[in-house]
Symmetry: none
Subunit: 204 residues, 4 copies
DNA sequence: GATGAATGAGTTTTCATTCAT
DNA sequence: TATGAATGAAAACTCATTCAT
């Protein structure tokens, strides 16, 4: 398949490439079917490799899962930080930017993030360590988003109320809207995600 | 357990009782762990019976799952209809009533409904028949809720915008808030679900 | 197969019976082929049951292995204690009795004990916990045998020298002789194990 | 590693060197963990090469194993012959020399020899050809040792009794003592192997 | 020769489902 | 009805071996 000469650097590249192939295949399948309904052989098939090869890159199915969850939580954290630091942007613009990022560019990952995160926090088959890590990460993300809301409220750009609650509503709205659009089931017209923001504008 | 005299009616009652035992146990486990991670023996254990007995009441694990999903969708439909018909109630009061119902009385079931419904609609391991049924049911529920929103907007009691979108937002908020409270992770103060309604009040 | 009525007591009996079937099958196979070359399906086949059933009685192949090792170490300890307490017996008679016990009655188990114990103490794939347990148990057994030797020496019935060393030689001889006879390869005449004792009689 | 000029002879040397590296690594691992628990990649790691390279020198894992077994049996045969031919040596001295050789110089190999030989003779996963070869070789070695014992008995230097049996006892004692010392578990004082000979001296 | 990515047959293990009692 | 022993299909995971580079 590969026509490039083998050497340590090339091997590293191949490793990276294969890991990404596996993660890409896995994220879509996990998002659709959940951890235990997703078979390693499905992932392998989707990633165009033998099931055995997956174990050259990951210890177990669970490890793939964890990798994805942690990666997604990091991405989200990063997005929230970037939104907060957007120069010369109103709160409205920051939130719009956020929605656009999640919606347009990180489709599957973002969808997966929340679905999975919810499952993780209650599932009996997940280690406490992972649960704690996820809970912490979600908490951190919520704080970042809360900060954006607080600033917006001070400027009178956003609706009044506990900013932490509003941030929480907003975070879940993102998920809901994305899920709906991904699954293409409820709406066929203009994307939902832009209208969503109207709810958070101030009352008069 | 019960020692009442046996007769055909009594037998029917026992059957009903056993079915409910099984469904109650199953709904909580499915909600936490999903379909494929939930073992028949777990359900049996939680329902205080042997796993063999479950097959006297249900054909398969899938059948239990489907029973629960359909039951929950019906309950939700019923709730929406009741809310719509509440006499002398403003839209605000109807929505409040809905939230209270879901929140206070049908805890696990309601939580289960959405988590599961989402999974069902995408999962490869679910029959198309069930998917269609679920999609239809969700659509019906959304229509009922849309109607409430439309009436509320006409009376100036709710925020402007496409009532179907608003209904959709609202439905997903219910789920998100319930999940958060069930899991007891994000907030420790007053229940979220009452504040949520502020978002849907009209702008000035 | 079974024609007795089912009830909790009968179920217990069945469980005990099945465990014994599994252990009997396993001990012979482990002794012949070692832990990792013995397949669960081999054990199941030899025990006349499906491989799945084995997991109703043991958590894993390793657990079967550990059960056998610990059982055998206990049996050996018990034999040594009995030999020590034999009334009105000379040391010679005690050791003869021991050899006869191991040789005539506990064939496979005894053979297995040492082969396995040796492997366990060096193998990388055995938990430290099991290693320590085995080492302790072997040490205890050696002490019991040493006591028999010490008493024999005091009465002038056995060869002089460090009784602990002699006990160690003796213990290993038992194994060697048993292995040879079990495998039927070296000698075809009278059983070796009785002549062995001559080595431990006093010099003149 | 080595930078000598390449030529056919040099290539042969390198081949030999690589083979020895592999065999040295393998003997220790096989001795500890047995054939099936020892992984090719473990051997490769211990021999400081890639696992693929091993297949340039050996056809299969089994071939490495067989090489080692046969090599060890040859070494032992050679030792027994040398001992028999030691000029001006008493039987006691010959046996002492043997013990010293095995003990001091061929540590791992000797330990491996017996443990493995025992396994080979019973294991289902070993070819009959190898079994026969091993059985013959062990028989030959036993004959050589028997001859030493017979001569010793004629000179009155060793204990009376069937010389073949005594040779067998002695051979197994060597193994037992070596195992004990290798594993460093039973004794911490002077090496066992010298005292062992006392058992074989004549009675008075 | 040397490397390690890739394969897939072979094992362990799980668990829904059946069935004798 | 009720039980849990028993089965076996299916999935996770291992690792000897091959082969392109």
């Amino acid at each position: 398949m590969k026509r490039l000469p083998r050497n340590p650097e090339r091997d590293q590249e191949i490793r990276k490439e294969r890991c990404d192939q596996i993660l890409s295949a896995a994220v879509a399948l996990f998002a659709k079917n959940g951890l235990s309904s997703t078979k390693i052989s499905d992932i392998a098939h989707k990633a165009h490799m033998s099931h055995g090869l997956i174990y050259n890159y990951f210890q177990s199915k669970e490890e793939i899962y964890i990798s994805i969850v942690e990666k997604n939580l990091c991405i989200l954290t990063s997005l929230f930080e970037q939104a907060h630091r957007l120069p010369d942007a109103s709160s409205y613009e920051k939130l719009t930017w956020l929605l656009d990022q999640v919606y347009c560019e990180r489709w599957d990952d973002a969808v997966f993030y929340q679905v999975v995160a919810d499952q993780i926090l209650t599932s009996d088959s997940v280690s406490d360590q992972l649960k704690t890590s996820v809970r912490t990460s979600i908490g951190d993300n919520l704080k970042l988003l809360t900060r954006i809301f607080r600033v917006g409220q001070e400027k009178g750009e956003l609706i009044q109320g506990d900013p932490r609650e509003l941030a929480f509503y907003f975070m879940n709205m993102i998920q809901a809207v994305l899920l709906a659009e991904t699954r293409g089931i409820y709406f066929t017209g203009t994307p939902l995600h832009r209208n969503l923001l109207q709810l958070f504008l101030p009352k008069a």
